[in-house]
């Protein structure tokens, strides 16, 4: 694949160190991944600040977009967690904005999608998981563990069911992170494969070059799809966070 100066479709996921750092044996270099996390934060924050700076009664386009995002997440928290969820709205909203801008910035050519790295999504999912567990423990104390005891099950089966429940609880951060990571990885690889195909066919020269129009057309469609996936996966991650939070706040 690397012949003729072609790029491998997975080259885009490579981590490049911009500023090298290491502390205590850990590599904490400032990489392209860190750069885009920072960018997602800055662009997201700037967008919301600029959009809301005028505070018009009748919102313009920017303000409308910012308010739409706010109301969207507010409604999500309200409908999935209820009124006690208000306290956690800032966190959920930040999470959503960060992921949305991270995914969207990743679609810009030459940029880097930090959500396509499992460790990034897993760290976020683990943070949500630990945070939600702590919220549950603080709110309900040891009663929280009754969460794992199925009600009305035969006594003989209870030990097995508890193990299954505990595993299914620990599956949460894994499935949460894998879902986001896999979608972004697959989508971006697919984009690069189709783009590579278009370039390769156009290299054939002559009338055969028109054949490259097909993958190019597919690429346009796929890019649209990826915009949808980027928004959708940010949404899915956020709504699942809300659901987990709801479970921790309202035990059955």
């Amino acid at each position: 694949m690397a012949s003729e100066g072609m790029h491998s479709p997975v080259e885009q996921f490579e981590i490049k160190r911009f500023i090298e750092f290491s502390a205590g044996g850990y590599d904490i270099s400032f990489t392209n991944s860190s750069l885009f996390m920072l960018l997602a934060m800055v662009v997201g924050g700037t967008f919301l600040t600029v959009a809301m700076s005028k505070r018009e009664m009748v919102p313009g386009r920017l303000q409308g977009a910012a308010e739409m995002m706010y109301e969207f997440v507010a409604d999500m928290v309200r409908s999935n967690v209820g009124n006690d969820g208000r306290a956690y709205f800032p966190f959920v909203f930040t999470l959503f904005v960060f992921l949305l801008f991270g995914n969207m910035l990743g679609l810009i050519p030459y940029s880097y999608t930090f959500t396509s790295q499992i460790i990034v999504t897993f760290a976020m999912a683990a943070f949500v998981f630990v945070g939600v567990t702590i919220v549950g423990l603080v709110k309900h104390g040891l009663h929280f563990f009754s969460f794992f005891v199925p009600q009305g099950a035969p006594k003989v089966l209870i030990p097995f069911l508890i193990v299954i429940e505990v595993i299914s609880y620990f599956v949460r951060p894994v499935s949460l992170s894998v879902r986001l990571f896999a979608n972004m990885l697959a989508g971006h690889t697919m984009l690069k494969v189709f783009a590579g195909l278009a370039v390769m066919i156009s290299g054939a020269g002559g009338i055969a070059m028109t054949g490259s129009l097909l993958p190019l057309a597919a690429l346009i469609g796929l890019t649209g799809l990826e915009v949808l996936v980027a928004a959708l996966q940010a949404y899915v991650f956020t709504i699942l966070t809300c659901m987990y939070l709801n479970d921790a706040l309202h035990l059955h």
Partner: protein, 124 residues
């Protein structure tokens, strides 16, 4: 003019009361879940089911492996937890598909995810 004053303040008071009631009403309304749920497209469901199943097996096997290393009982817990993990994955899929949300544990049938919904049902 002056005899209208108490009337006006009365009116304003009522107005304020009405507005407070409305705001509180809004809050209560807000608690009513409109159930903004996960996407329900075929592809979305398929990918979610696949992730849950695979993640269940993975987490189960990993926990078994850690237990084995700790207790030196290889491969007892690895095998056991592999299957328990698979069942946990299936349990999660069932929970997802039956619209019970992702809550761990079993529900009585009337319980809904957001507490306010229950009140609404009780009211009926």
């Amino acid at each position: 003019m002056s005899d209208q004053e108490p009337n006006r303040s009365e009116k304003r008071l009522q107005d304020i009361e009405r507005r407070i009631a409305k705001m509180q009403g809004d809050r209560d309304d807000a608690a009513k879940p409109s159930r903004a749920a996960l996407p329900v497209g075929m592809g979305a469901i398929l990918s979610r089911v696949a992730t849950e199943l695979v993640a269940g097996v993975m987490v189960g096997a990993f926990m078994g492996w850690v237990l084995d290393r700790w207790l030196g009982t290889s491969p007892l817990f690895l095998v056991l937890m592999f299957f328990l993990g698979a069942s946990a994955g299936m349990l999660n899929v069932w929970r997802m598909m039956s619209g019970r949300g992702m809550a761990t544990g079993y529900f009585d049938e009337h319980r809904q995810d957001a507490g306010a919904d229950k009140q609404e049902r009780d009211g009926e």
